[in-house]
């Protein structure tokens, strides 16, 4: 027993580069790669769960989604939701970070408050938002009306549902972006700022010509990190609207879930998921190019 144990530790020592990652890689292969391959296989098959066996139909599913109006709607909703929420989160996150980038009493409290939305369970806070967004008795419309503004229909109207959902997403994720950018701002070199001040540059000029170029790699990195989850946003939308009213807030990702788990069309659903993956992939490859070129500057 003891010799076996010693032989094992000896092996681990000699083949460290192989032995250390082996369990994790084997596990990831089993739980990540195999399902992805299975998913790819299903994408080229016609199969409804519970009805017979998968039947190979080549590109049939992909041809079908070209003429599916809900796919076109899903792509539009995805671009609208992600485009608006990601840009608002980045702009607001940056501006708030610049605002807080100084020494002041209470900076600890701000940090503590800003970590809360990041940690909070999405489904739980989304349900609270659903209560607050109620057009008749919700607290948001009450606050708007009490300062003389008209209330909004929020998620009850196809026109306002996406901006309302974006508001929830922005609420949940902007503080995280702020904290990341703030950490980045604190690590910037002092010299360019001193030189600019000596030259008499205005605060706006300093922000535009010094802060922004220096913080760009951090911004792009934060955007990539955020986009990984944002393009696959599920919890907030599903909890608050389930894609409604009608299909007004049904992103491509949400639709792929519906096809798979409400209609049980496993083959067609898989093809949709492949498309979602490709969108996330392309977005991240482009972002990574931009990030690397920003770091070279």
């Amino acid at each position: 027993m003891k010799t076996a144990f010693r032989a094992l530790t000896h092996f681990i020592d000699r083949r460290q580069a192989f032995a250390y990652p082996a369990p994790a890689v084997a596990t990831l292969f089993l739980i990540v790669i195999i399902p992805i391959v299975f998913n790819l296989y299903l994408a080229f098959n016609k199969w409804t769960i519970g009805l017979g066996q998968p039947r190979f139909i080549g590109l049939g599913n992909f041809l079908e989604l070209l003429s599916d109006e809900r796919v076109l709607n899903g792509v539009k909703v995805m671009i609208y939701f992600s485009g608006l929420s990601l840009s608002l989160e980045m702009v607001l996150g940056l501006l708030i970070a610049v605002y807080f980038n100084r020494q002041f009493k209470g900076s600890e409290a701000v940090q503590a408050i800003y970590i809360l939305p990041f940690a909070a369970t999405p489904v739980a806070v989304a349900l609270i938002w659903r209560i607050m967004l109620n057009p008749e008795i919700g607290v948001l419309n009450y606050l708007l009306r009490s300062v003389g503004l008209p209330g909004s229909l929020w998620v009850s109207s196809p026109q306002t549902v996406i901006p309302a959902l974006v508001m929830v997403d922005v609420w949940k994720w902007t503080p995280m972006i702020t904290l990341i950018v703030l950490a980045g701002l604190k690590s910037l070199p002092h010299e360019p700022y001193e030189a600019a001040r000596v030259d008499g540059a205005s605060a706006l000029q300093i922000f535009w010509y010094i802060t922004l170029p220096l913080i760009r790699p951090v911004l792009i990195a934060a955007l990539m990190l955020r986009s990984l989850d944002n393009l696959k946003e599920f919890d907030i939308i599903y909890t608050i609207t389930q894609g409604g009213p009608g299909i007004a807030s049904e992103t491509l990702y949400l639709y792929s879930y519906m096809v798979g788990f409400s209609f049980f069309k496993a083959g067609y659903g898989s093809a949709l998921m492949v498309v979602v993956f490709l969108i996330v992939l392309v977005f991240n490859v482009v972002m990574n190019r931009m990030r690397l070129s920003a770091q070279e500057l």
Binding site: Y142, W171, F234, D235, F277
Partner: protein
């Protein structure tokens, strides 16, 4: 001089006023959540909404007594604990090796794992678990949560391991430590902040996971996000119950995040800024 001082005080008052305004939105939702939980059902549908009222703990009692919430909290605790523990045991050596031997190909698997939509995993896993009769078991949920937590732990830990100087390990080995010993005795304690951070981020993401549990859990293994979501799935919305349940769910993860807030940001930034 006096004028300058007045101007400075005025500016600082202005700054703090702005800071308070910027802190209202994050705080307000949590306040409203707690208030909703402390109101009766009737108070919750009153218009105008009541800000001052006699609080009641009846909703919290109901959540535990009628909705069996303790069970769901335990389920979430078990699954998040298992997923985090297993992720650390497998992820730490893997991250160390990736950092030390620059194993970029393994990093690629992690990237693919993080980019793939969760629904893509869900369909195959649902089919497999149904075939094996494992739907509504802790194993099924822990395995699927590992898809999220294991890549996350590795991704975060690589940057923490990269910051450990190799000289320390060399010195330990000259003193007669084996590589395994020097890893466990020298390196791991040096990255304990990173381990605490990854563990808590991993726990938070598993605790908050909704999609996998929605499909793969059942009466026996229902987790808290699904349990609170079920408050609305009977046509009638129990707002008071949602307030109480949401407060109970959000509280533990908020406390965790509060304690490691600085390293969470550090970990996320370091990971994101890697090439």
């Amino acid at each position: 001089m006096a004028a300058i001082r007045i101007k400075k005080t005025f500016k600082s008052i202005l700054f703090y006023a702005g800071a308070i305004v910027l802190c209202v939105p994050p705080v307000f939702v949590f306040v409203w959540m707690i208030l909703t939980g402390l109101k009766t059902g009737v108070q919750n549908i009153a218009y105008p909404p009541e800000f001052i009222f006699l609080p009641t703990l009846d909703n919290f009692r109901a959540v535990f007594e009628q909705h069996n919430f303790l069970r769901y909290l335990m389920n979430s605790l078990i699954i998040a604990g298992l997923a985090t523990g297993i992720s650390l045991v497998m992820g730490l050596p893997a991250a160390y090796s990736i950092a030390k031997y620059r194993q970029g190909k393994i990093g690629l698997i992690i990237l693919v794992a993080r980019m793939t939509p969760f629904v893509s995993y869900l369909l195959p896993w649902y089919i497999i678990f149904r075939y094996l009769g494992l739907v509504d078991t802790y194993s099924a949920l822990t395995i699927t949560h590992l898809i999220i937590t294991l890549p996350m732990v590795i991704w975060l830990m690589v940057s923490f391991f990269e910051s450990v100087p190799t000289e320390l390990e060399d010195a330990a080995m000259i003193d007669g430590c084996s590589r395994l010993q020097s890893f466990l005795i020298i390196v791991v304690p040096l990255v304990r902040n990173g381990i605490a951070t990854s563990a808590i981020i991993s726990f938070i993401f598993s605790w908050n996971q909704f999609l996998f549990s929605l499909i793969l859990s059942g009466p026996k293994t229902k987790t808290v996000p699904v349990a609170v979501y079920n408050f609305i799935s009977y046509g009638k919305i129990d707002w008071a119950g949602i307030g109480a349940a949401a407060t109970l769910i959000v509280l533990p993860v908020s406390v965790f995040a509060f304690f490691v807030r600085r390293t969470i940001v550090q970990g996320l930034t370091m990971g994101a800024l890697k090439k």
